[in-house]
């Protein structure tokens, strides 16, 4: 497999790195501490062209490949998990299903505004009683007289409630046939009667990203707001998660890369017993292991991206990359804190935030256990 990046991919990495260092880094700690979602930073990411990077130009995108997009997520996550979350969720979960399953009319209606950074779209699957088991969905959607009437609620929905959160693709139970639930996905726009968006507060991590509860109380939308076909809901949501796994993996990889760099830097500056601490083998070997994990994670993730770009089956590799990169993000951040000693536990050092931010990665978009389930099923049935 060819691991050389193209001239363009190298330039994208450089560009997003410059942007993250210049625009995001100075604000990250403050936004995290105050738990504030930044509309301004989101707009700037839009101006840079980070939203809808992989969409064709006619929808406002740039027609870039998956790997370019993943590199952008990785570079943002190297500086700040929250902004990377806004970007990854909007691209993979917000734009993704509209682009892959929308009719031409739906695409033209929604996608152009969603590439600007002035409007974000959410993916509403998780419910209070339906997490890993997405078939536990209780929200109902009843089709009658040319409209869908939706009742229920969703929880933990990224990009769901800020002033620029303009809508959601949501899974509903559209019928129960012979005791079996039939799922469909429905588009609901902000401002629809009976639809309310409530920001969730008190997160341990991704504190500058927008997480919401969504309520549907006799919420009525036109019949044409159906995405895909009736009964295809679960397929649409789960295939969206296949793509989403790549971007969560990129967040793990970027976070681990950032933590590794901080640890290396700190180990060169901190002196104890008259020497910089990187001269102690216990520290330098730890760094060697951290760097090896990052390298492995990158190889696995980029391979999954290249498979997707070559239109090959990438589901297994995507689950592996999500599992591995999110797990090493935990290990590498933990090692980096250890190398920082007591300072690593203080908010003055960004590693403290990285240590918290990594924790979502083994839970969101399919927990590590669910990834293992997916991988095992594929391996055993191969």
């Amino acid at each position: 497999m060819n691991f050389e990046l193209s001239e363009e991919q190298i330039l994208i990495r450089q560009t997003v790195r410059d942007f993250a260092e210049r625009e995001v880094k100075p604000l990250a700690q403050d936004l995290d501490e105050k738990g504030l979602f930044s509309i301004e930073l989101t707009k700037k990411m839009g101006e840079l062209g980070l939203f809808g990077m992989y969409l064709p130009e006619k929808y406002g995108g740039q027609g870039l490949d998956t790997l370019s997009y993943i590199i952008a997520v990785e570079e943002l996550a190297r500086i700040d998990g929250s902004q990377a979350a806004t970007l990854a969720a909007h691209n993979s979960l917000g734009i993704g299903p509209l682009y892959y399953y929308g009719t031409e009319e739906q695409k033209m209606k929604y996608l152009p505004q969603l590439t600007t950074g002035n409007a974000l779209w959410a993916f509403g699957l998780t419910e209070p009683d339906a997490g890993s088991d997405s078939r536990g969905t209780k929200t109902t959607g009843k089709l009658k007289d040319g409209t869908w009437e939706i009742n229920g609620s969703k929880i933990f929905i990224t990009n769901g409630a800020s002033d620029i959160a303009v809508g959601v693709t949501t899974q509903v139970v559209s019928a129960v046939i012979d005791g079996k639930k039939q799922f469909s996905t429905i588009i609901v726009e902000k401002g629809t009667g009976g639809f309310s968006q409530v920001q969730m507060h008190g997160k341990m991590m991704w504190r500058a990203s927008d997480t919401a509860e969504l309520y549907f109380d006799n919420c009525v939308v036109p019949e044409e707001n159906l995405l895909g076909k009736v009964g295809e809901g679960s397929k649409i949501m789960l295939s969206t998660l296949d793509n989403g796994r790549l971007s969560i993996a990129a967040m793990g990889l970027g976070l681990a890369q950032g933590a590794l760099e901080m640890a290396v830097q700190y180990s060169k500056e901190r002196k104890q017993f008259g020497k910089t601490i990187n001269s102690f083998q216990a520290i330098s070997f730890r760094i060697a292991d951290m760097a090896t994990k990052v390298e492995l994670g990158r190889n696995l993730l980029y391979k999954a991206c290249k498979l997707k770009d070559a239109h090959k089956d990438f589901g297994k590799q995507a689950a592996m990359a999500k599992l591995y990169c999110s797990e090493i993000a935990k290990e590498v951040a933990d090692d980096a804190v250890q190398i920082h000693g007591g300072y690593g536990l203080m908010k003055d050092y960004p590693i403290e935030r990285f240590y918290r931010d990594q924790r979502l990665l083994q839970i969101g978009e399919g927990t590590s256990e669910i990834q293992r389930l997916v991988i095992a099923r594929k391996v055993i049935n191969e």
């Binding site: 410059d18 101006e47 062209g49 870039l64």
Partner: protein, 247 residues
């Protein structure tokens, strides 16, 4: 109006500097290259002027081998309209200035912007030499730049103050710090558009080498820090006098 902006292909500022071939050549192993920071400010200012509505065609130019094309491509992604690469390893300032002056002569350009100095060899000579080859005015190290009616306006920092300068066309100016606020970051759209922009490769004109590097030295490593106890001022004074020899 047509501008020529010289784009230096220089090592990233965080690069580890090493030499090879008996310390006569720069070791390029593992080096990442960037657009020279002053040239980046120069290009940014030209793009700002263009965005404000001035009809300005910007050509990025570099004297260098194939590997510098990635750097030129970044200039195109930032917004330059086209690029020219003069296909030869740049040896000294005189040589580079000669090549650029030739392109200027053949292209009906109105002015040239360079960086105040490249951040690799810090020569700071190319702009002045181009001006001499072309017999046109040169304003070095400008900190402000505007296109006015039939002329251009500049500011330069001088000892203890500022100098306000105007020049007729054509001219050469070199961009100093503050030439633009901060370098422009190319957007994804720019990166995609750069793919389709023209990057012309031209053959160099003959020019004998005038200078040659015989050796490079790295700065001596900083000696370890010596701690003097706060109640031993006498010792501190003795060390400053006898060892550091600064008092």
């Amino acid at each position: 109006m047509k501008a020529l902006i010289c784009i230096g292909h220089v090592p990233d500022t965080t690069s580890k500097i090493r030499f090879t071939d008996n310390d006569t050549k720069f070791d390029t192993t593992d080096i990442q290259y960037i657009i020279g920071p002053y040239e980046e400010l120069g290009l940014t200012r030209l793009l700002d002027i263009k965005d404000a509505g001035t009809d300005l065609h910007i050509t990025a130019i570099n004297v260098g081998l194939k590997e510098t094309e990635a750097t030129l491509r970044k200039a195109l992604a930032m917004g330059a309209d086209e690029a020219v690469r003069i296909d030869i390893d740049p040896t000294d300032a005189f040589f580079v200035a000669k090549q650029i002056a030739e392109v200027f002569k053949n292209g009906e350009y109105d002015f040239i912007v360079t960086g105040k100095e490249s951040i690799d060899y810090n020569g700071g000579q190319v702009d002045g030499m181009i001006a001499e080859f072309l017999n046109i005015p040169s304003v070095t190290g400008a900190t402000k730049f505007d296109l006015l009616e039939g002329k251009a306006g500049f500011e330069r920092e001088i000892d203890g103050g500022k100098e306000v300068v105007e020049s007729v066309f054509p001219f050469v100016t070199s961009a100093g710090k503050d030439f633009a606020k901060e370098p422009r970051i190319p957007g994804m759209r720019g990166i995609m558009a750069a793919r389709r922009k023209k990057l012309e490769v031209i053959t160099p004109v003959e020019q004998n080498l005038k200078t040659e590097v015989s050796k490079h030295y790295l700065p001596a490593a900083k000696p370890a820090c010596k701690m003097v106890s706060p109640d031993n001022v006498e010792e501190l004074v003795r060390l400053l006098h006898e060892e550091a020899k600064i008092i």
